[in-house]
């Protein structure tokens, strides 16, 4: 290949000049998003840190979490801490009294979401979490983690629709089974505390 000395340098200069000019009118060349002034749209699949979903209006009563501690066990960096509620007699209730996630440890891997059999824990997309207090403010408590189902629907519409359909089907099946049982026994069993509203 014949190569004129100096030509490669000139080609490079031409290329940078093209980019210089192009950066003024070709949006593909200037990919910078000037962050605080403008933001990228949040992708539907985006995940940051986990949140707890509750149905209805009351974050305490509507919480889907039953405190089964599967997520606590499966969490690779072990950033979830759960203490179950006990009633006055000391009997363990099927809901968490404490549910803490240390987001300074969490690596956003989403395994807790995948292993949860109750669709109670989902990924939040909130990412502006910087704080000056790295010990207190980065340990998210149950109250901060609890988010209504509507919020979840807004963040992940496709996924939430699937979950809602699945839960509705499960609730329907359960109601059908219950009705059957009721009809058979004509007894009234206590309604499980963690069952969800259809």
């Amino acid at each position: 290949m014949k190569h004129t000395p100096g030509w490669g340098l000139l080609k490079g200069l031409f290329e940078t000049a093209r980019n210089f000019v192009g950066s003024y009118y070709q949006p593909g060349r200037l990919t910078t998003i000037e962050y605080p002034d403008e933001r990228l749209p949040v992708q539907e699949n985006f995940r940051n840190f986990p949140m707890l979903i509750y149905d209805g209006a009351d974050p305490e009563r509507g919480l889907r979490c039953v405190g089964c501690k599967i997520c606590e066990k499966e969490c690779p960096p072990q950033c979830i801490y759960i203490v179950l509620e006990r009633d006055r007699s000391g009997k363990v209730q099927k809901r968490p009294r404490l549910f803490d996630i240390d987001v300074s440890v969490c690596m956003s891997c989403q395994i807790c979401v995948e292993v949860c059999p109750f669709d109670a824990i989902k990924m939040n997309t909130e990412y502006e979490l910087s704080t000056g207090d790295r010990f207190g403010a980065l340990l998210l408590r149950k109250a901060e983690l609890a988010k209504p189902n509507e919020y979840y629907r807004r963040l992940h519409p496709t996924e939430a629709a699937e979950v809602d359909a699945r839960l509705a089907a499960a609730a329907q099946a359960k109601a059908a089974a219950q009705a059957k049982e009721q009809a058979k026994l004509t007894a009234k069993p206590a309604k499980p505390a963690w069952s969800t509203q259809p």
């Binding site: 190569h3 000395p5 100096g6 030509w7 490669g8 340098l9 080609k11 490079g12 031409f14 290329e15 940078t16 093209r18 980019n19 593909g28 060349r29 990919t31 992708q43 539907e44 699949n45 985006f46 995940r47 599967i70 499966e74 969490c75 690779p76 690596m107 956003s108 891997c109 989403q110 395994i111 995948e114 292993v115 990924m123 496709t158």
Partner: protein
Amino acid sequence: MRAQAGDLEMRGAFAAEPHGGGGRSAGSDAGWGAGAGHEWVRPAEPVGRLEGEWLEVAMGPHHPSTHGVFRMNVALEGERIRKLKPVFGYLHRNHEKIAEGTTYLGSMPYTDRLDYFCSLTNNWAYALAVETLAGLGVPERAEYLRVITGELTRLLNHACLVGFLLHDMGTMGTPLMYAFREREKILDLFEALTGARMMCNYLRFGGCRVDVPAGWLAGAQRVVDEFPRFLDEFENLLTTNEIVLARSQGVGVLSGALAVNAGITGPMLRASGVNYDLRKVDRYGIYDRFNFRVPLGEHGDVYDRYMVRILEMRESVKILAQALKDLPPGPILDPKSKLRGFRPRAGEAYGRIEAPKGELGFYLISDGSVRPYRYRVRPPSLINLTVLEELCLGHTVADAVIVLGSVDIVLGEVDR
């Protein structure tokens, strides 16, 4: 060497050394190298009349061109490197031992963090090892998705690597910025698909985690279609630049024989003229369905390593175009696979793929429990780094920097 020469040693700065010289005090004689059991590069006393004294410089761990926290202890004669000792371990995070204490699935997000540029290929190698161990199959659509994400990963890794390499040659970051511009587009795709830009955690044993969202394939097609234009631009910018040619040709020559003996893999091996690409050798996944070629270098110098990567990107674009065209519908996860209580039968398995940096392998021994009994990574970065001294001797400091750049290391993988 006279004691006064210690004046110029950066005394005490090396007190916290991760390897060797355990009982050495910070203020020992000449600062470093004097400690017991610490073999350092100091030459034997009398040297030739005009050879002059050797200047010992610790390049790194805080050096802009060591691609992370890596250190090269070099002995210089003028600017010529007479000895070089790589020191690593600053980013050791106990990956393998942690993996032995956690479930099979629990290690998947940790593999993202090995070579943090290529989380998807890391996932793939690990998934392949576990699938071999557990005898899981992978649905066809998932195989295609793996190829698509894997080749996109190769594109972004190689683009950034050549960017970094040219940046090390002193281009003020221009090619690097162009590479990052393209990487941004691929990362957007990753984010839309997997939910994260770098720590994707996308593959599962027996398939993938989620299916592609609506419109993703069209977006990927667009990126793939535009990528050759970026490559042309990049090559126009510097491939025939006389300074790049002068800097990189004949520098850091690695012979094919040495490369094979040292276990070098990946583009670095192919730049030395050895035809060995696991995509062709193992034909893992569905790589036998695609039509692509393997570019080979001839001289094994820095320029060949640069060009082989550029040409590999062009081949990857071809693979991507074919995979995006042929992607079949269907499930994305083997129905036999399960997330919780996953217990592969006792035995051992080695899964390896052609990661962008070379052969990435995971070796697993299972005792039938939920945790691997032994977990071992074969990191291409580390093994490719072993020949660094060979490549650098006799060259200058400036060459050492670009030789290191052309090896393509990520310290997360080297130190694990």
